[in-house]
Symmetry: none
Subunit: 404 residues, 2 copies
């Protein structure tokens, strides 16, 4: 029975880049660590969630961990909130939110309040409050974006948006979609009118008006969702699980799954993250865990920035750190893959498959010799992300027998 390290290189997959000689950033990277593992293991292509699906990091990580996204992915709200580092617990209801500009006649003039360039931390704090025993917490996202989390007993996510989704209309009253949601809707309407009072006279907006900028005097909420109920990872697989990840949303998912979230020194979730530290921490975590998930966010950031050279460089930096894993294959199964592709030519997630390698002593070795989107085509596997855990359970000699 072996332990398992699963490395997810976020947004790893790419398409041919002219400036890299029509190679992908992964093909262009100097990657002796990954290539050694590919040569001494098996490779293939993995389809995140399903073939051609442009999955998010949230849906893809849920699927990679073996959870059925159709069942557990109940709305973006909770995942956006986790992505902002907010604590979202069982029973909480979360929303995506925008700061918007409401005119004197009560109609929305600008759904993005002029794409706010200032930090909204100050007004988010001002509108976080307790109302009737329910904690309302707002945290800022990028520009006009934010998230709202409601924490308290008996909440329901079956409520409509206050966001009218177009300008020239007043914010909508929040309505319950079933009878259990009446109190939640009523609370939200009371909360949002308090928010209007606070924002209308807040110095942040007084200052903006003085400069002739549209005020951020309305919080439009949408996409209500409850924190997903995820089967406990440790029970599901009979393994004690941990994660070493720099991005709050993935840490949030792992935490909901009952895995230990381990912080590594110098890990930032940005391209300047200390990958050596991340891998060293993951290896240490194997002392008292059976399974460690590592997420390396850099390639995704470079993909969104349409910067193939940066993507190549962060992959090279990660490869250097991964070489710490080469000595472990007698006792540890190492798997490396992506959660989705983020082609630099596209600047967003695509549904292209991602390369996958599984490096485990005593297991099969297939003819593929390098780790990239093209070389892995000659590998053994064509696998959906939802089957990966099962496959790793097999190569680590942990799977239960089905039948006689």
């Amino acid at each position: 029975m072996k332990k398992i390290v699963l490395i997810v290189m976020d947004g790893l997959g790419d398409r041919p880049i002219a400036s890299l000689g029509n190679r992908t950033p992964l093909q262009a990277a100097f990657r002796p660590g990954l290539n050694t593992m590919a040569r001494d293991g098996i490779t293939g292509l993995m389809f995140p969630v399903s073939q051609g699906i442009r999955s998010g990091s949230d849906t893809s990580h849920l699927s990679i961990l073996g959870y059925d996204t159709v069942k557990v992915y109940t709305g973006r709200g909770p995942f956006e909130a986790m992505g902002l580092g907010m604590d979202v617990r069982k029973g909480d209801v979360a929303f995506r939110a925008n700061f918007a500009s409401r005119s004197k006649d009560g109609k929305i003039e600008d759904r993005r309040a002029g794409r706010l360039s200032e930090n909204t931390e100050e007004i988010c704090s001002a509108i976080s409050m307790v109302l009737d025993g329910v904690q309302f917490t707002v945290k800022p996202g990028v520009e006009h974006r934010a998230a709202l989390v409601m924490h308290g007993p008996g909440l329901s996510e079956k409520v409509t948006d206050s966001d009218p989704h177009e300008t020239g209309l007043p914010p909508r009253e929040v309505k319950p979609m079933d009878s259990n949601a009446s109190r939640t809707a009523e609370l939200l309407n009371r909360y949002l009118s308090k928010v209007r009072e606070i924002l209308d006279k807040h110095p942040f907006n007084v200052k903006r008006s003085g400069k002739g900028e549209p005020p951020a005097n309305e919080l439009l909420i949408r996409g209500a969702g409850k924190a997903p109920e995820i089967e406990d990872f440790n029970q599901k697989y009979g393994m004690k699980g941990a994660c070493v990840v720099g991005i709050p949303m993935i840490a949030g998912i792992c935490s909901l799954a009952g895995m230990d979230v381990i912080k590594a020194p110098g890990v930032t979730g940005r391209v300047d993250s200390d990958y050596e530290s991340k891998i060293r921490t993951a290896i240490s975590a194997l002392r008292d865990h059976d399974f460690v998930l590592v997420n390396v966010k850099g390639p995704d950031i470079a993909g969104h920035d349409r910067n193939p050279e940066l993507k190549r460089d962060v992959i090279e930096k990660a490869d250097q750190a991964f070489r710490q894993l080469l000595g472990l294959k007698g006792e540890v199964v190492v798997a490396v893959t992506g959660d989705h592709s983020t082609p630099c030519t596209y600047g967003d997630h695509s549904g292209d498959p991602v390369p996958l390698l599984i490096y485990a002593g005593g297991n099969r070795i297939d003819p593929s010799e390098r780790f990239d989107e093209v070389s892995c085509v000659s590998g053994s596997l064509r696998i959906q992300s939802g089957d990966l855990m099962q496959y790793l359970m097999n190569v680590s000699d942990r799977a239960e027998k089905y039948g006689a």
Copy 2:
């Protein structure tokens, strides 16, 4: 329209073996027959049941024949009984059973009666009986193991185990899990108390007590299951099906599916089986059948014995027999695969994929040129076992059109 011979080499897949130069037993075997079929056909990898699943021979054969194991595999009891060569028919209820030692105070002291080394045929016969029109039949398995089959009208498998699953407790009363099972539970309790009477004073146990050995005076039953209701193979596929197999469990499954079970002279289900006779018999069966399933058990036995040289040798012997099939491809589709891997380094079934070849005149030929776990990676197919029959129906020009 062609006829089909499907050869399942039991436990065929393996992992690299140091003593065979890091090749698998299949790679190490001289196998001109299999390689010729691979070269002149298409190959690939098959995932028994699903990717990474460590399937049994029962679940895997059901899936290979196109039955959904989630629906038809209702418990191990009936398959264990079929594995012991017992006749299990529609409506029968079967159990896995252990001979155990019960002390004077009625508690189970040893759930395995000292792992009985003697044959229990004698006591199994003594406790087989008819009670209230229901036939109770017990047959011995390995050591302390046995199986119990109840045959009669109105039986239900919704009953609890008598096995307390730990020592120091008395055998449990069998309880009905729903109201339709009351009579079955009541009959079982009456049967088990008769069994106690018989076993307590049976010469087999008197002799054991004389030698100071723990008595086999309790039959603990568990894992009740009804013979699965399997859709008739001949109707499902519009083909008259037969099997030539040496192992009772697979014969039992084929028989439940309405296929003809054909015995070949010299076939034993062991490594000394006469494969030439088996293939000759399968070819003869094509006279009046459209589909013949052949199971070659030897590789699995060698895998469980952790004997890679033996596994290589039985594969060589089988390959010799398979060469009888080389002349048939104009009229017959030949497919060869495994039901699961049984790596010699692991000694049990693993979830690694198995190689697959399909050799059929007039069909496509892909670049793969040899038949083994590694060479077939360059073949066309990555297929789940449940899709194999459909694929074979296609290459034999038997499939129905879906749509216009």
